[in-house]
Amino acid sequence: MSEKRAKVVKLNIINEPKDSYTGGKSSLCPGCGHDQISNVIISAAWDNGLEPHKIAKMSGIGCSSKTPAYYLGRSHGFNTVHGRMPSVTTGANVVNKDLTYIGVSGDGDSASIGIGQLIHAIRRNVNMVYIVENNGVYGLTKGQYSATADVGSKKKKGPINETQPIDLCAMAINLGCSFVARSFSGSKKQLNALVKAAISHKGFALIDVISPCVTFNNNDESLRSYGYVKDNQAELHSVGYIPHFSPLEQVEVPAGSYRDVTLHDGSTMRLETISDDHDISDAVAALSALHKADEDKKHVTGILYFDGEKPSLDVDLDLHDTPLIEMGEDLLRPTAKQLDEVIASFRG
């Protein structure tokens, strides 16, 4: 009996074991928040029943951008150049719109060198998940402050940071980003639901994840240490996710008040009220929540803003339903007769 049980491998909706979604061994510092996020990505992809080979994992440069080697080993990926992952993903996305693009980047990538690319990918509403593994420091170059370091925070070595940080969520909301969330690498359940919802969303989904750097920015004076964030997290709501293949009516209804948000693939994001009700369609409320948390030196988490109606880039481009990469010479090369017509038009 016990022998038989040991052989049971849990399979997901497409009959794949979780092993089909794992990757190589991490080479990050033990305890790094990024590894927790990698595990969430593995779980989310498995839970959602994505076909591993239909995922593209994209990254830039930095500690965070090394992580695609540690998850989804059966997916193609591209570890590009510093901060410029959004443009590479944009180009891939428009020629093969049928893949699920999961981009991972850091605060160096996203808030400094690549902030322009992030902004324009949001502006175009590229259909992708964009996870920022945000720790306020440059890890791989040994602990310089990044552009998201909070005023008054102090990393392990060096002075207190006095420079105003860039809040990527506030920026994204102001840009009209269709899915804006903040989470914490230590809040596995919340992050898992957010990543799954982001995958189900069609459009640009930004998840800014506070992911403490255990080596350079995990001291008590840091506002991004594991301990500080754990104690100073202000959850907007409790986030649940019900996949499209699980009938909603069979899911237990919560005791308190909640609201359901239907996502593009038919899945549901269930937001349960904790204290105040947050309206995710209200950009001003979202900015207000960020501002208040900032004043209180708290980290607000949950889904800040959502717009399920905004058309994604592939729709704007009026692309044929067949992905461009599947088209052959018959569709890609006009005929000799067409060339004759073109030349005739020049002859006038």
Partner: protein, 595 residues
Amino acid sequence: MDKIVNDFTINIATANGTGSQSANLILLQTLFDMGIPVSGKNLFPSNISGLPTWYIVRLSEKGYQAPGDKTHIQILVNPATWEEDLASLEPGTVVIWNMDSKMPMERDDVVSYPVPMTKIARKLNPKLARMIANVVYVGVLAELLGMDQEVLETAISKQFGGKEKAIELNAEAARLGRAYFAEELTKGDSYVVESRDVEEGAFFIEGNEAIALGSIFGGIQMLGWYPITPSSSVAEGIISWLPKLRTHEGKATYAVIQAEDELAAAGMIIGAGWAGARGLTATSGPGISLMQEFIGLAYFAEVPCVFWDVNRVGPSTGLPTRTQQGDLAMLYESSHGDTKHIVFIPGTVEECFEFGWKVFDASEKYQTPVFGFSDLDLGMNKWASRGFEYPDEPIDRGKLVLTQEQMDSIDNYGRYRDVDGDGIPYRTLPGSGLDPILYRGTGHDEDGAYSEKPDVYFKLMQRLKRKIDGARDYLPAPVIKEDSEQDIGVIFYGSMENTISEIEDIVEEKIGKKISTCRVRALPLHSEVEAFMEKHNKIVVVEINRDAQLYGIMRKEYPLHLLDKMLSVAYSDGMPPRGRLYAEQIIAAIEEAEI
């Protein structure tokens, strides 16, 4: 006075944004449609309105297309450059000038034709007088030179395609210009035009539009671009032709994105190439400077993508609306570390089209960024063409593994393993599920896994070198015209094609010797270039830059005995190459070498 027929240069000095470009194109088209060999050079400023512009029209029975060494007929319309333009003219030059510009005509050694261009135009339409005045000088020229009125009016119709009011207005302005000359002035010069046999099917096209069409017939799937002179009309040409040529069931078979900058444009086409599509960007030198990091990634991760560089004058912002061959060395070794890239170099509009599709095949075959190298002169001026040849080979996707069966037939597959011994590995695509790897710009082994091992890195770099070297004789062979004496061999490339025949004639006239010519059409250099060098006693490499960039590449790559006979003529002042200037420098270089 002897007549000078179809062999002179007209220089038209106007201000930017006044509609003079339309008038000048009408003039060019009329002469062209009369069967006269003619070329036009637009010397325009980096400006939308108000700064000086010159348009040079050269008529040449010998078919010379360079701007020529002197002006025979000067049109003076722009007060801003009036005095300087006037002072530069040789005695005897014909000057047609606008009396209404209130500028003095202080030369009595020129043939002066004062015309009240503004008054004539104002009478016709006061609101549009400034625009129409330009067509008045076309009318004056038509009468002065004996241009065919019917052909002129057809050219006007072509220029304003279908806009009846504009056609009628401009045709009337031309008639009034004509009438003014006939009634008020007397011809006192010897310049005339005569119709020649019209070449059937010939038409005008700019190099950039030819590249655009070539790209479309090459199956472009993704255009990522950022506007920059003089390349914007490549992207705009693609954008204007795509809906007509590449719509399927009412939907696009292509994606076009105007990027936020050149970096993003490069990133997008690399993303497209990685995903398995044909991506292209068009830019100029400053854009390539910005794209360097990405170019290195595409080279090292072996991702196909196409970059067109329409060269303008550098360094820095340089002379944005002038021409040069100053980016060649940069393209060949783009990005940090050891790199080497394939560069296609068209010299004619036909080649702009041909290389426009061939660059994609080369890029996918060799799994590497491929450059097309043009320049402002070739790209933005109108050139006569007889037509473009439809691609004679099917689309070549290279060593693409699309099915498990294909994968199974490859012995010891690895994304970066040289299975066939030609340096070119096989590749699979995202979404296929076949050998998924994490592409990276970091060191990697033959399976694509991260590696810093010395022998792994060394072997990888050697293979990449072998791969690109292996493309030499696949790429377009040089165009060689050999003289039987095989003494002087001139090597040149790109838009210099349009000046070379004049250079040949001037050299022969001056030193009594014919030269052989070899037009390089791609990097890395084809083996026939070396063979050409072997055969000739002296080799002169002629190019439009300061630092002798091709000469430098050749000196680095060729054996010692060839270096001894290599001479360089490298000159750049922003102007399209003038025959005499280069011919004299070639002669000086040869004579100096003989001392």
